[in-house]
């Protein structure tokens, strides 16, 4: 894609500007971005170009039809809350709302894998208040993993300790399966 300002260099920064509630796509090169004051904060200036061109290639591979026959038009995914479509998401490189994650869920793994070195699942903090039972379930998972490695390395005494901890935690109270989703 060509830079919309100079029409010379390739556009490397892509973003949406909202002016008086109207969304406007901006595609510019680094030089013009700087000149026109579009240049984002160094940290946020993550050039989406690589990411998105990667996504689009990946998508066409994943969705492509190997037989070369007529392309099957799949119904476009659209978020029921913010109305963002999947192709819009790919173009803009941003989700419109939290529900987008559910809506596009099945198509997100390849994207996350590319961006996050193969990872697709969160392993970090859980909100303190909202997290509810999740905290306990995470703790259980951790204990169970620990137990497995202890048994594999034949450290049975330590394994027994962990097993007691698991029992105690499981008996504390019933642990709901669905957690407390926001």
């Amino acid at each position: 894609m060509e830079c919309q300002e100079c029409q010379k260099r390739p556009a490397t920064l892509h973003f949406t500007q909202v002016i008086n509630g109207n969304k406007k796509e901006v595609h510019v090169c680094e030089v013009c971005a700087r000149e026109k004051g579009y240049k984002t904060y160094p940290e946020e200036g993550y050039s989406l170009h690589d990411l998105l061109s990667g996504l689009i290639n990946f998508e066409s591979q994943a969705m492509g039809n190997p037989q070369g026959g007529p392309f099957q038009q799949v119904k476009e995914l659209q978020c029921p809350k913010c109305e963002m479509t999947f192709s819009e998401f790919k173009r803009v490189g941003k989700f419109g709302c939290a529900v987008c994650y559910d809506t596009f869920s099945e198509r997100l793994d390849p994207i996350f894998r590319r961006v996050h070195s193969g990872n697709t699942k969160h392993h970090g903090k859980i909100p303190k208040r909202q997290g509810g039972n999740l905290h306990k379930r995470r703790q259980l998972e951790n204990y169970k993993m620990e137990l497995k490695t202890l048994i594999e390395s034949e450290e049975f005494e330590k394994a027994a300790e962990i097993r007691d901890k698991i029992k105690a935690l499981e008996n504390e109270q019933d642990i709901g399966k669905e957690g407390d989703r926001p």
Partner: protein, 354 residues
Amino acid sequence: MTLQNFMNEAISPWMQEEGPDSDIVLSSRIRLARNFANVPYPILADADKLEEIRDFFKTNYENQSFQNYEDFAFIAIKDLSSIEKRVLVEKHLISPHLVKNAETSAVLISENEQVSVMINEEDHIRIQLYFPGFQLAEGLEKVFEFDDWLEEKINYAFDESRGYLTSCPTNVGTGMRASVMMHLPALAMTKQINRMIPAINQLGLVVRGIYGEGSEAQGNIFQISNQITLGKSEHDIVDDLESVVRQLITHERNARSRIQEQSGTKLEDRIYRSYGVLENARIIESKEAAQCLSNVRLGIDLGLIKKVSRNILNELMILTQPGFLQHYQKQSLTANQRDILRATLIRERLQLEN
């Protein structure tokens, strides 16, 4: 707390304290991206929804305190002049993205400027915590406590398997960006840094110059931060970053002593020349000023220059950015006028030290 306090000093109160390894690590920062569960992200939300969020922060957090982060100032970005916006950006208290969203965006800043919470940036909430020197682990602990405090009143967009749901897929999961600002003059002088950057990138970390454009790092100040936010815990991300930073500190210290041993006089000449330029120049561009400030700071760290405080680098790097210069002069300036004012401010600042 008023805006005027933030505007008057180039150097934030927390920067006055000396942190661990502060001969090389200028500051540590942890940023968390958070969103309200039930409101579309700023890129798509209606202005009235975003204004509701902004008002929620004003109502609930203006003049509040959390631990030793006291008396939060609430500042709506639309109320700022363009020079004021620029100064807050140069102090890293707000981002240019926040300025772009001025109609609906705002910021909460603690009195010591250690915490800033940007409201309606790319995400609804961006929490930033700064620490002097190398203090990532401490920073993580504090930012978690602060995050829990906000969460008492806010339902975050969170999903068990995807974590904190952010507007950009590059932030999902922890929503965390941890970074350190490092002064690496010896690694830059010996060009070793050019070989190290690709290796660091391979570890999932990003290295960039904090001042200047592109790959150039003005003042030899580099920012190292994590790229990956999904699949690793915050503690693991911070541990990995810490171990790379520790190695860089060792390499930089080794390079400094090697240069001193092998070409001590040349190095001294370079440092004292830079000092001379800063003390005497009448016109100075930001690039030259940054290089000279870096050399003088190295001279201070090596014990060659004794009468100047270490903070001079951080302080003058910020003070001599275009926004600050214009704030100082209370008017907009041409590039040439800025170069003259920059030289004057640096001379005056150095005279204060004598």
